[in-house]
């Protein structure tokens, strides 16, 4: 039995299933930010499947690793993971945005399983830096992962936090940049060019690697390699991604930052997912 399992791909947090959950949720709640969630799906798959430790599957466990979703706009992807973990039930997916419901359109720390209130950008990373500093002071081996958007890197506190993380040698902190090349109003290169992000984070004192953010094996290898460097520097993974990844008509189409699904586009998106059908 175990031999058979070992030879099968790990189906937990399968990207296509998570994207389907996001679509179902977005359709149910008639909400936006679908493309923002799709670009971080594989990052979350790899983190939840292989790296994040939640003793007793308890999202509040004192000994847990911390996943800080600083780009709160991608929160539906994290809800999809929380559904897989049993931290949410499907009625919360179907009931997304119903009056009186708990799951908001941006990351909210009062939802058990989410660590920060973000969406106002440039907040979560600093909180993550503080968590990492606190864990380090306590001599704990827990890790802190902070997912930031490339558009979010416009915010000043990100770079304040980067200076502080390097200065205090926060080798338990990994920032993951979802470099999908877009922000709300257009391509990042047109709005506020970011230049060479690897060079920027390296010059701030981070161990830095780049990876294809949709290649699970590459993301996993990069995370392992960064932790394995053994230096006292904080880590940065620059993940090149595609905004809207997984549904061809949404890919690199910034309209899907804002557009809501109607019954037709929902059906088309689901069938597109079924056709591309990657890991299944």
């Amino acid at each position: 039995m175990s031999v058979i399992l070992r030879n099968q791909p790990d189906q937990r947090f399968a990207p296509d299933r998570m994207r389907r959950t996001v679509l179902e949720m977005a359709f149910a709640g008639s909400t936006v930010h679908i493309a923002c969630a799709f670009s971080i799906i594989e990052l979350l798959t790899v983190l939840y499947r292989n790296h994040l430790r939640y003793p007793g599957n308890d999202p509040r466990a004192e000994g847990r690793d911390y996943l800080v979703l600083s780009k709160g706009h991608g929160v539906m992807a994290q809800y999809a993971c929380m559904l897989e973990l049993g931290w949410l039930d499907y009625s919360q997916i179907e009931g997304y945005f119903k009056d009186g419901s708990d799951l908001k359109g941006l990351s909210d720390s009062r939802v058990v399983g989410l660590e920060v209130t973000s969406g106002s950008l440039g907040h979560g990373f600093s909180v993550g830096v503080g968590i990492a500093l606190g864990l380090k002071r306590k001599g704990r081996d827990q890790k802190v992962y902070a997912i930031v958007g490339d558009g979010e890197l416009n915010e000043g506190p990100i770079w304040e936090g980067a200076l502080v993380a390097a200065h205090h040698q926060m080798d338990n902190l990994m920032v993951m940049v979802d470099k999908n090349g877009f922000q709300a109003m257009g391509p990042t290169d047109d709005v506020l060019a970011l230049g060479d992000l690897s060079a920027k984070f390296s010059s701030f004192g981070f161990e830095t690697l780049e990876a294809d953010g949709h290649d699970e094996a590459a993301v996993d290898a990069a995370i392992r390699q960064l932790w394995a460097t053994g230096t006292n520097k904080p880590k940065a993974l620059i993940a090149t991604t595609v905004k809207g990844k997984g549904v061809p008509f949404m890919e690199a189409n910034n309209l899907w930052h804002y557009t809501r699904l109607d019954p037709q586009s929902f059906a088309e998106a689901i069938s597109a997912l079924d056709r591309t059908g990657g890991t299944q």
């Binding site: 907040h123 600093s126 909180v127 968590i131 500093l133 606190g134 506190p157 304040e160 502080v164």
Partner: protein
């Protein structure tokens, strides 16, 4: 008063190793003793206040008790959103220390002056706002802030105006006023906070008025304010802060609903400082010097007295 502050901070930090003092590269001499005795509990977070407040939230999340120090122009004003989202929204035990509030930095101009900090913090849900007037209130305020186990903004204004209390005040209570001076009940009563309590006592002595200090601005409970209103003929509020959103607003919010009373709000009018000069000069520029206060209070007394005669009450 500053010595009372640094002594209290040191005493608390020695007793609780979870206390971490974060400063945005300010407070050089103020923290000498702290740095010597609690070096592991001191972090200079650099001139990066927004990150510092977010970081304090992260430290609080894993069990620390951060005290975040900066000039009031920066903590809280520059970081209001971090205070709201990262700290207050989760009711985290972070004490925000805003030094030099009001016109302390009279020569440096508007960037270092702060007359909107009470209004900004008071409107954030769940934060308590403290504004001690002398060294005794400062000691009590630091104890209160530590014991609160939630978000607190402690405002430190002009600190060398002398004592207003004869000795230790005892524990501060949420929402309670401290009676500082007895006086004539048929005259206006003065409720002041921070640096203006000293001025209120001086004016109160010359006109024989009752004076209360409000070291806890939020929560401010109705009982004491209504009692002060009942015990006086009109109320005057005094603060080195905008007339909008501070002590005057808090008092009138209470009186208008519970104890309709004429209230004269004395504070900083809706203007920035025009010129540079000594602290006393700037108080004059904004109409907050003792002569001006006295004239306005006398005029207000005439107004409430004539009103009383007209409507036959009192």
């Amino acid at each position: 008063m500053r010595e009372a502050f640094s002594n209290a901070l040191l005493r608390l930090a020695l007793a609780d190793p979870q206390i971490i003092l974060l400063t945005g590269d300010h407070g050089y001499a103020l923290f000498d003793e702290f740095r010597k005795r609690c070096p592991e509990q001191y972090i200079n977070a650099g001139i990066a206040e927004q990150n510092m407040v977010g970081m304090a939230a992260g430290l609080a999340r894993v069990g620390y008790r951060p005290f975040v120090y900066g000039l009031a122009a920066f903590i809280p004003i520059r970081t209001v959103e971090q205070i709201k989202l990262d700290i207050a929204h989760d009711d985290l035990p972070v004490v925000l220390l805003g030094d030099g509030a009001g016109f302390v930095y009279s020569h440096l101009g508007t960037s270092h002056q702060s007359t909107e900090d009470i209004a900004c913090t008071r409107a954030i849900p769940g934060i308590e706002v403290l504004s001690p007037a002398d060294r005794f209130e400062m000691t009590a305020a630091m104890n209160y802030a530590y014991a609160a186990h939630g978000p607190v903004y402690l405002r430190m204004g002009k600190s060398d105006r002398g004592d207003v209390h004869l000795g230790p005040t005892g524990s501060l209570k949420p929402g309670r006023l401290l009676k500082v001076r007895a006086g004539c009940a048929d005259r206006p009563g003065l409720i002041a906070t921070g640096s203006m309590v000293r001025a209120a006592v001086d004016v109160g002595q010359s006109l024989d008025l009752q004076v209360w200090s409000a070291p806890v601005l939020k929560p401010l409970h109705a009982d004491d304010v209504c009692a002060a209103a009942r015990a006086s003929n009109g109320l005057v509020t005094l603060e080195e802060h905008s007339v909008f959103g501070g002590l005057g607003a808090a008092v009138t919010e209470i009186t208008s609903e519970n104890q309709p009373t004429r209230v004269l709000r004395i504070g900083v009018p809706d203007r920035f400082s025009e010129h540079c000069g000594t602290y006393e000069y700037l108080l004059r520029e904004h109409g907050l010097d003792t002569d001006n206060l006295r004239d306005r209070i006398v005029a207000f007394f005439k107004l409430v007295s004539s009103n009383s005669k007209v409507d036959g009450s009192n």
